[in-house]
């Protein structure tokens, strides 16, 4: 045993040499918050999982049982499969658009803008993000409706007649992209900032064009972060509520509004609970699967 180890052992226990110190009482500081989250989130979720195996009864609401019929109902009823497929399709499309539009903006903010301008632009991007779905969606209703801003602007160019954009998949996709873009831009921006700009200069001075530098140097290095941003956008759009309800209208069904409808309106808690767990499981399986796939490819790419 070396001298320093002996000294460390002799030091009083509340003043150890190395950081972070180990304090016996520390974990208890998390207890109040932990109890709160357990009662407010984990217990209700566990109850919901249990309820998804119960049976619905119009008179008594819920009958205790242990049946898979709610899950069977989902996978045998074409209506609900269509809802899931529509949710998946719209989410994939919105995420892809965010990726294509978000990369250049995030890169621009990381490389071509002064520190002050960047700070201001980040606030400009964060305001729409933190403005809330109700306000943002109403702004899109103002633009997309048949007598709205877009119709007026097109009217100036001679286009008359109804736009027919409201209550369509297009309107929902536009709304979702505008919700998700700020998330994508902010995630990607910190990824690009972590990449050493000298690498790009080096590749450029060796004769690589900008597109080659992006494709061969920047994007491979940024891939894990790009993946994180993409997964985040996909999860958020799978669970979107306000955008499909307000821009899609009453006949455009996506998963989150359907969960709300079943739990709060139809009071069919067992089926609503099953829907919620199907939504979470499908999202989880897809994001974990795609991440694993991309990471395996990435390893091959970077070798």
């Amino acid at each position: 045993m070396s001298m320093s180890d002996t000294v460390a052992q002799m030091a009083p226990p509340d003043r150890p040499d190395r950081r972070p110190p180990r304090r016996i009482g520390a974990p208890f500081l998390t207890t109040p918050a932990l109890v709160f989250v357990t009662i407010g989130l984990l217990a209700p979720l566990a109850l919901m999982l249990r309820n998804s195996f119960n049976r619905f009864d119009p008179a008594e609401l819920m009958i205790s049982a242990f049946t898979a019929e709610n899950y069977v109902k989902f996978f045998t009823d074409a209506f609900y499969q269509e809802v899931l497929l529509r949710t998946l399709g719209i989410s994939a499309l919105a995420t892809a658009i965010c990726l294509v539009a978000g990369v250049p903006v995030a890169y621009f903010l990381a490389r071509h803008v002064s520190a002050f301008a960047k700070r201001m632009l980040l606030i400009v991007i964060l305001v729409p993000l933190l403005i809330g779905n109700a306000v943002r969606t109403s702004a899109w209703m103002l633009i997309l409706n048949d007598r709205g801003v877009l119709a007026s602007v097109l009217g100036v160019f001679g286009y008359e007649g109804p736009l027919g954009l409201m209550y369509t998949a297009t309107a929902v996709t536009i709304g979702l992209v505008s919700v998700l873009l700020p998330f994508m831009i902010i995630t990607l921006n910190s990824v690009f900032e972590a990449i050493d700009a000298n690498l790009e200069d080096a590749a450029g001075s060796l004769g690589a064009t900008h597109l080659t530098v992006m494709r061969r140097v920047v994007l491979p290095l940024a891939l894990p972060g790009i993946l994180a941003g993409t997964v985040l956008c996909f999860i958020l759009s799978m669970n979107a509520y306000a955008t499909p309800v307000l821009l899609g209208g009453p006949t455009f069904h996506m998963m989150a509004p359907t969960v709300y409808q079943q739990v709060a309106k139809a009071m069919n808690w067992p089926f609503g609970s099953a829907l919620a767990f199907i939504l979470m499981s499908v999202t989880l399986i897809l994001t974990v699967g795609v991440s694993a796939l991309v990471q395996r490819k990435y390893r091959r790419w970077s070798e």
């Binding site: 972070p20 180990r22 304090r23 520390a26 974990p27 208890f28 500081l29 998390t30 109040p32 918050a33 932990l34 709160f36 989250v37 357990t38 407010g40 989130l41 984990l42 209700p44 979720l45 109850l47 919901m48 890169y107 621009f108 490389r111 980040l122 606030i123 964060l126 305001v127 729409p128 933190l130 403005i131 809330g132 779905n133 109700a134 306000v135 943002r136 109403s138 702004a139 209703m141 103002l142 633009i143 007026s152 505008s178 873009l181 700020p182 902010i186 921006n189 910190s190 450029g204 001075s205 900008h210 669970n239 509520y241 306000a242 989150a256 739990v263 709060a264 919620a276 939504l279 979470m280």
Partner: protein, 271 residues
Amino acid sequence: MGNAQAKTIRIGYTAISVLVIGFVVLPLIFIVWMSFFSNRILSLPPEGYTLDWYRRAWQMADFRNGFFLSLRTSLIATAIALILGLPASFALARARFPGRETINTILMSPMIVPGIVGGSSLFVFFLEVEFLTGWRIAGSSPGLIAAHSLIALPWMIRLVTTSLIGMNPSVEEAARSLGAGPLTVFFRVTLPVIKPGVIAGSLFAFVNSFIDLEKSLFLVGPDRTTLQIALINYLEWNFDSTIGAVATVQIALITLLLLVTDRYAKLSRAF
């Protein structure tokens, strides 16, 4: 790379960024502009300008009461998040103990579980508790505040923990070795250093609670609607500049809070 080429690339990036950021921001600019139109039926260009819609929005009980209910709920939720989150952040940032990662994940989970799923499970949970005990929680103030505290807590912990990790503990060590007691060290040394993190955490907690729609949807009562719920209820059947007036007030409030937060912490760090 030639200078001309570098310039082209720069212009290209600028053009794309202007388009994309415009796409995100323009809707908000339009709705603010619209809130001043004097037209009864919305159309462009405006016939004139007026502040009438603001008066009308203020006169509508749903919006006025909704605003004050949201304000009160989010303020209380932020205070609860502060009380629960501050000690937890200290433990997570300063100490190393078994299960630390798990505890961190659990405390962050309200941010990860989708709002509709969290909201519907809380709604059913509250009603089942009511069946068993007779306590009415869903649709009551405590129920709403509990849900909003759950939204606020992870933001608080995330931002306070970040600022605690960035703090040099030897400052506290120095104060202690000069004879300061633990309370003096906390209030005179630690708190001033992490104040920006606490302020940023509180503001983010407040804003995210204020704009919440998905969880509140399940927990509002007939005469107890938050501003966001009042907005979407109104939007289902009407669309006029009253919406614009309410939206403008909210945009102004949130922009102001973000500008204040920006003075204290790097905004992008919150995500």
